[in-house]
């Protein structure tokens, strides 16, 4: 069994091996510790001098990595907790994402910023958030998020080795210990994979998976979820089918921005109903853009649309509150039931 953690760690090793311009900057990333979530484990031992242990300076190391990227290296930054991506907002928005276009396409910024996101570990308001929504829709910035389905390691290594644009790579903490599942080998689901064409850029390397319940009647709702929420949505799809005979299709994008929702539209055209699930807070989350694009494209063909998301409060430390504040299988099931 390979966990998502293993896969990401192996992808880093492979990228370091494949290209000596790959470097990693982050806090507490040296062995034996190997990073707060161990994603970088072994790297500093195998590649001494290419793992740069940084002071607690998220903005500074992001800017430094951007400078390295502008000068021919392929740096990877680890932000210890996704909650701290607020600290790199200016570097991301006003520097990194702008350079290529603002400098008239004369430069490239092959930079990957990885960060663990999400709650359910009782870490409290400043160590549990799902904040990537603030960076979805920044021109020039790609945001990726693997789930446990498909090839999370491959997604990371292609971002590092092949993408000449800046990438924010979101790793939900609860994914780390899940086994990687090959889409073709999933019990109960039939998977198809698509890669939407991006405006003027050709195909994206980030796949979208569409999971249909094997042998089920046509889906009544299209579920859309990414990251760890894809796992909850998968469980909800099974419960909806077995307990309530509500059949769904589950669309799992790995690229959050730029938005590419062809697969969502394809499924929603069939089902007529759309339900997004995300771990971030509700208002102006990722799901808002999915719903907006869907109603733009489908008009009254979109018969019903809903979003499941976190309640609009900081993530509480107390477990009983945290469970209520964050989306659960139960929330998804209850919301879906109201849609049909």
């Amino acid at each position: 069994m390979t966990t998502v953690l293993d896969a990401l760690n192996q992808a880093l090793h492979a990228a370091f091996q494949a290209d000596e311009t790959v470097f990693l900057l982050g806090e507490d990333v040296l062995d034996p510790y190997g990073g707060a979530f161990k994603v970088t484990r072994g790297l500093s031992t195998a590649y001494p001098g290419r793992v740069l242990p940084a002071p607690i300076s998220e903005a500074g190391i992001t800017g430094i990595a951007a400078g390295m990227a502008l000068r021919g290296l392929r740096p990877v930054v680890e932000i210890m907790f996704g909650d701290f991506i607020t600290l790199i907002a200016d570097q991301l928005v006003n520097h990194i994402a702008k350079f290529r276009w603002m400098y008239n396409d004369q430069v490239r910024v092959p930079l990957v910023i990885r960060t663990p996101m999400g709650g359910r570990r009782g870490y409290g308001p400043t160590h549990s958030q799902t904040l990537e929504k603030i960076y979805l829709g920044v021109p020039g910035l790609r945001v990726l998020a693997p789930s446990s389905i498909g090839d999370p390691g491959g997604l990371l290594s292609r971002a590092i080795l092949e993408d000449d644009n800046p990438v924010l790579f979101i790793e939900n903490k609860l994914l780390y210990l899940l086994p990687v599942q090959h889409p073709a080998g999933m019990e109960e689901f039939e998977a198809t994979e698509s890669k939407a064409e991006l405006l003027g850029e050709g195909d994206s390397y980030a796949p979208t998976f569409t999971l249909a319940l094997g042998g089920a009647p046509p889906a009544a709702i299209t579920l859309v979820a990414y990251g760890y929420m894809a796992e909850l949505a998968r469980q909800a799809a099974l419960r909806l089918a077995y307990e309530f005979e509500i059949f769904t299709e589950l669309v799992i994008p790995t690229q959050l921005a730029p938005f590419e929702i062809e697969a969502v539209l394809a499924s929603t055209r069939r089902s007529g109903r759309l339900l997004t699930i995300e771990e971030g807070t509700f208002s102006l989350g990722w799901g808002a853009e999915i719903l907006a694009r869907s109603v733009e494209a489908l008009g009254s063909g979109l018969r019903a649309a809903r979003r499941v998301a976190a309640l609009e409060v900081p993530v509480p430390a107390s477990g009983i509150l945290e469970l209520q504040a964050l989306p659960s299988v139960e929330h998804i099931v209850q919301t879906a039931k109201k849609m049909v």
Partner: protein, 307 residues
């Protein structure tokens, strides 16, 4: 103006933090607490020494390693246990957890560095309102990596905020030794902004207390910032099981830098024993009471759905 310290009370306070934190570490694996924790083991004399000099209205701003500061400030062990357990009776009703505390004039937050301008602004507010209170903000050596610290030093100096910056230099940040994270000399980072600084390499509460007292007296006498750099020793892991230091080195620190032993040596054994018994009982009771405290109501969350 520095208080005349009662050596018994200082010992009691150091011990209270020690036993509280040991309880936290020991009980963590039993699953009673949520999330994670950062214990103050080994650094107790800093909080006790500095906060013994704080005046009743002074403000204390703390960080992730805040249990010791909170208890030395006068916070209730039971309320802190309850907060770690996510109970309604916790310092913040279970919402904040270990790193996010507020009680009276005590505030902590878990994002390194971001608390420093807050403390500076609080100090300024007290000055502008003429309350006479000052602010005390604790930060670690590693947190000197955050740029916002220097924005705050600059403005605190320009606007003469009545604030004491206390750097607890335990020479490590999580797993990163300060040689890898702090260039130059810490004290000069304050002096570069025109903030004068006292530096101490001690775990003796009776050395720390008067130094802090002198600086706080100066701040209260004429509002302006000061810094106190305390070279200190972290005895435990950063949070729970993550100590990457050589155990021989940590052992040496425990032997030579224990504030409880250093200060305890000044007290007769029977007094120490009496205090020990009292504190153990207090902490044991606090833990037990907290364990019995009610959980918050999840339906109290705005937008909560009934299951």
């Amino acid at each position: 103006m520095s208080p005349v310290p009662d050596p018994l009370e200082l010992y009691r306070q150091i011990l209270r933090i020690r036993r509280f934190e040991e309880t936290v570490l020991n009980k963590f694996s039993s699953g009673v607490f949520f999330g994670t924790t950062h214990t103050y083991l080994g650094q107790e004399a800093n909080a006790v020494g500095v906060l013994s000099c704080a005046r009743p209205d002074d403000i204390v701003v703390s960080n992730h390693r805040c249990h010791g500061h909170f208890l030395a400030y006068g916070g209730e062990p039971r309320a802190l246990f309850a907060e770690l357990m996510g109970r309604e009776t916790g310092v913040c009703g279970g919402r904040g957890g270990s790193q996010h505390l507020h009680w009276r004039n005590f505030y902590s937050n878990g994002v390194q560095g971001g608390t420093v301008p807050l403390a500076t602004g609080m100090a300024l507010a007290e000055k502008l309102r003429g309350s006479g209170a000052a602010a005390i903000v604790f930060l670690g050596d590693g947190t000197l990596g955050e740029g916002i610290v220097y924005e705050s030093l600059n403005i605190a100096s320009l606007w003469r905020a009545p604030i004491l910056f206390v750097v607890e230099n335990n020479r490590i940040a999580q797993t990163t030794p300060s040689e890898l994270a702090v260039a130059g000399a810490i004290a000069t980072r304050f002096e570069a902004f025109g903030i004068s600084c006292i530096e101490l390499d001690s775990s003796d509460v009776l050395e720390i207390l008067p130094a802090a007292g002198r600086l706080l007296d100066e701040i209260h006498a004429e509002p302006s910032p000061r810094a106190l750099v305390l070279h200190t020793a972290r005895f435990g892991p950063h949070s729970k099981g993550d100590d990457t230091r050589d155990s021989i080195d940590v052992e040496r620190l425990r032997r030579t830098r224990d504030p409880l032993v250093i200060h305890g040596a000044r007290l007769p054994e029977e007094q120490r024993k009496a205090i020990e018994a009292e504190v153990v009982e207090q902490i044991t009771l606090a833990f037990r009471l907290a364990l019995g405290d009610p959980a918050p109501d999840p339906q109290s969350l705005p937008g909560a759905t009934t299951p």
